[in-house]
Amino acid sequence: MAETRLLFRNVDEPDLASIRTYRRLGGYEAIRKAFKEMEPEEVLNELEASGLRGRGGAGFSMGKKASFLPRGDMDKFLCCNADESEPGAFKDRELMQKNPHQLIEGIAIAARAAGANRCFIFIRGEYDLQGDILDRAVEEAYEAGFLGLDVLGTGEQVELVVHRGAGAYICGEETALLDSLEGKRGNPRLKPPFPAVQGLYGGPTLINNVETLCNVPHVVASGADWFKSFGTEQSPGTKVVSVSGDVRKPGNYEVELGIPVRKIINGLAGGTVGRRKIKGFFPGGSSAPVLTGDEGLDLPFSFEAMAEAGSMLGSGSIIVFDERTNVVELALRTARFYHHESCGKCTPCREGTNWTVKMLERMIRGEATPIDLETTAAVQTNIIGNCLCVLGDSMAMPVGSMIQKFRDEFDEALEKGVPMAVAA
C-alpha cells in the first residue's frame, strides 16, 4: 500500500514554500473559486457535505463546527491551531514547513465559509523555522491580494497574523489557546460558552487544526463527492500519519483513512529496528490509550475503528515501542510530560499528574508498595472527566491503559523495581 498524497502532493518540489512555485503547481485556484464563483453558504455546505473531520484530535466535523458561528456583521475570528506539542505528533510542522501557502489558502477559504475576517495562526514558539516560513508566505499572500482588506477584489476582508507561542503544551487546548492569544497565561476556560459563540476577545471564533485547514482547498477545488472517494464513509479523506519510535523509517506518511495499521508500521515505516516484536503502540499521540501489538496491528486506521478498540485516532501519531521497552518507564515518561505541562488550574489534573509521577518513580526505584499500583490506577480513573480540559485525561488514558494491559510488568516493578532505568 502506497501513500495517497493529497496534502503532500509535490511535497519535495524545490521552493514549494514560495508563492510562485505554489501557484505554478495549481495553488490559489481554490481560493479564486471560493471567493469569485461561490457564495459563503455554498462553501460551507461543501465543507459540511465533504464530511471532513477535524484532524487535531477530537475528530469533530469541520463544516459543522464552522456552521456554529452566528451570522452577522460583527468581527469574527478564525484561529489556526498550530501549537502542535503532543509527543509523537509532527505532521503540522512538515505541512507548514513544506507548503505554507496551502495552509494560508485553506484559512482564507475557511474564513469565507465561516464569515470570519480576522485570522490567526497560533504556532508554537519552538517552531521558529516554520514561523519564519509562514511569516514570509503570509507577506507574499498579502502582496498577491489573497489576504487583506479586499481579497481578490471581492471586497471581503481576511486578515492573517502569525502569532508565536512560547512553549506551553496546554495552549493547544482551544480555550487556552484563546487566552494565550489574548496575551494572558494560557489557562483553559470553562465551557460553555463554546468558542463558536464567545471565543477570542469575546467574539465568535472558529478554531481548526493545521491539517484540517490544509484539506479545505482540495475539498473546494474538487468537490465534496470527490473528497469522499478517499478514506472510509465516516472518516473521509487522507490523514498525515506521523510514525515515530522504534521504527526504521520514522516520518510523516499520508494515507487514506481505513488502511490497516500493520501496513503503516511495517510497510511504510519499514517495521521495527532489527525486526523486533512490537510490544505496543500509541495510535494517536501520547494521549491515546496504548494498544498492544497483537490487538492493534490488524485494525483499520480510522477514527471509528480506533474508538471501538478502546483507544483513539487523536492527532494520528503512531509511536511504536518494541519488546525492549519497559512499560513502567514508558508510563513515567508519559506522566512526566503531562505533569510538566499541567497548568495547575484544576486539582485532579495538578495533583493527579504529580502523584502519578511520584508513584511511578517509586515503582522504578523498587520502593513501592502494592497499594501504590492500586492508587495509581485509581488516580487515573478519578482524573478522567473531572477537569476543565482534557490534559489530565490525556495522561490518565495512556497510563491507565498501560497498567491494565501490562499489569505483569508493573507487578514485577513492585517486587524489584526497574534496575535498568536511567533516571527515576
Binding site: A2, E3, T4, R5, F8, R9, V11, D12, E13, P14, R24, L25, G26, G27, A30, D75, S85, P87, G88, A89, F90, Q97, R118, G125, E126, L129, V161, R164, A166, G167, A168, Y169, E182, G183, K184, R185, G186, P217, H218, A221, S242, V243, G245, D246, K249, P250, N252, E254, L268, F282, S286, S317, I319, F321, T325, R333, T334, F337, H340, V422
Partner: protein, 293 residues
C-alpha cells in the same frame, strides 16, 4: 446529638438564630499579633527570620510612565508594531517578551519594565505571562541555546544519552544551566515536535537530528568556532519520509489542482508552461539528502 434532618428541614437553613454552640471565630489579624507575643521567645525568633528571607512587600509597581523609562528605539518600535497587529494591545504580551528576550538574551526585569512602558501595562502582568511559558528565561542564560528533547520518541532512541553528551561537551553543571563563559546553555526539553529525527536537539531555534554519538561534541565545537552547526543533520534539508514521489492515484490525477499547465486566460500560458517544465526537469536532477537512514 440530634439526628440529621433532611436538608430543607434543617433549621439553620432558614433561621440562623438557632446556632448557639458555634466555636469562637478565629482571631482577627491584630488579635493574632497579641497571640504571637505570648509564644515562647525562640519560636518568635524563627518566625522573624522566615519573614526576612521573603522579598519586601508593598503595592505592586503600577504602569510605568513612558517619560521615566528609557527604552531602546528598536525595541520600542518592534513592540509597537506587534501591538498594531492585534485588536487588543494585551495580545502583544508574548511578542513583546520575545523582543525583550532577543535583545537582552533573557527576560530581564529592566527589559520587562521597558516593554511594560511601551505597552502601557504593569510589569507584574508581563512577569506573570513570562513565568508561565517555558521558552521565556527569567534568569540570564548562555548565548547559544541547546534544547535536547527527552520525551517518549527521543527517549526510545536514546535522547537521554544525547542530553548527557551535550552537558558534558558544553561543560555545564547539569541540564538547565549555562556554561561558565556564558556561551552555551543546555537544557533537556519536553517534546519539540520532531520525533521523525529522534533523537534530536534544537540549537539556536533550529532542529538537528537524528543525532549520534559524537554529534554533541562536534556541535559544541562548531558553536564555539562560529561555523555552521552539524551541516548534514539539519531538519530543513530532509525530504518527505516516503521518498520523492508516491505512485500516482487515478483520483489524484483528476484533481484540478494537479493539472498545473492549464492555460489561463489572463497569463501568457506558454511562459508559465515553460517555467513549469524547466522546474520539473530541475527537480529530477537535484538530489536531496534523505537524512540519516
Amino acid at each position: 446529638m440530634t439526628p440529621l434532618l433532611p436538608k430543607r428541614e434543617r433549621p439553620w437553613q432558614t433561621d440562623p438564630g438557632h446556632i448557639h454552640d458555634v466555636p469562637e471565630p478565629p482571631p482577627m489579624p491584630d488579635e493574632q499579633e497579641k497571640v504571637g507575643t505570648e509564644l515562647p521567645a525562640h519560636e518568635v525568633e524563627v518566625l522573624r527570620v522566615a519573614g526576612e528571607a521573603r522579598p519586601p512587600h508593598g503595592d505592586p509597581a503600577g504602569v510605568p510612565e513612558p517619560s521615566e523609562v528609557k527604552v531602546p528605539r528598536a525595541l520600542a518600535q518592534e513592540i509597537r508594531r506587534a501591538i498594531k497587529r492585534y485588536p487588543q494591545k494585551r495580545s502583544a504580551a508574548i511578542p513583546a517578551l520575545w523582543a525583550v528576550q532577543r535583545r537582552y538574551g533573557w527576560c530581564s526585569p529592566e527589559g520587562i519594565v521597558e516593554a511594560a512602558a511601551v505597552m502601557g501595562v504593569t510589569p507584574g502582568y508581563l512577569q506573570s505571562v513570562a513565568s508561565y511559558y517555558d521558552l521565556f528565561q527569567l534568569e540570564p542564560q548562555g548565548e547559544h541555546r541547546i534544547h535536547v528533547c527527552t520525551n517518549i520518541s527521543c527517549w526510545l532512541r536514546g535522547g537521554d544519552g544525547i542530553l548527557d553528551d551535550f552537558v558534558e561537551a558544553a561543560g555545564v553543571e547539569a541540564s538547565g544551566h549555562s556554561s561558565a563563559d556564558g556561551k552555551l546553555f543546555v537544557r533537556g526539553f519536553e517534546c519539540l515536535g520532531a520525533c521523525d529525527i529522534a533523537p534530536m536537539a534544537s540549537i539556536d531555534e533550529r532542529y538537528y537530528g537524528p543525532l549520534e554519538d559524537g554529534d554533541a561534541v562536534a556541535a559544541i565545537e562548531q558553536l564555539r568556532a562560529g561555523t555552521e552547526v552539524l551541516p548534514g543533520k539539519r531538519l530543513e534539508d530532509r525530504g518527505a519520509a516516503g521518498g520523492k514521489r508516491a505512485p500516482a492515484d487515478k483520483r489524484l490525477t483528476k484533481h484540478p489542482l494537479n493539472k498545473p499547465k492549464r492555460p489561463r486566460p489572463k497569463r501568457a500560458s506558454d511562459g508559465a508552461g515553460r517555467s513549469a517544465r524547466t522546474a520539473a526537469a530541475k527537480s529530477k536532477r537535484t538530489s536531496r539528502p534523505k537524512g540519516g537512514r
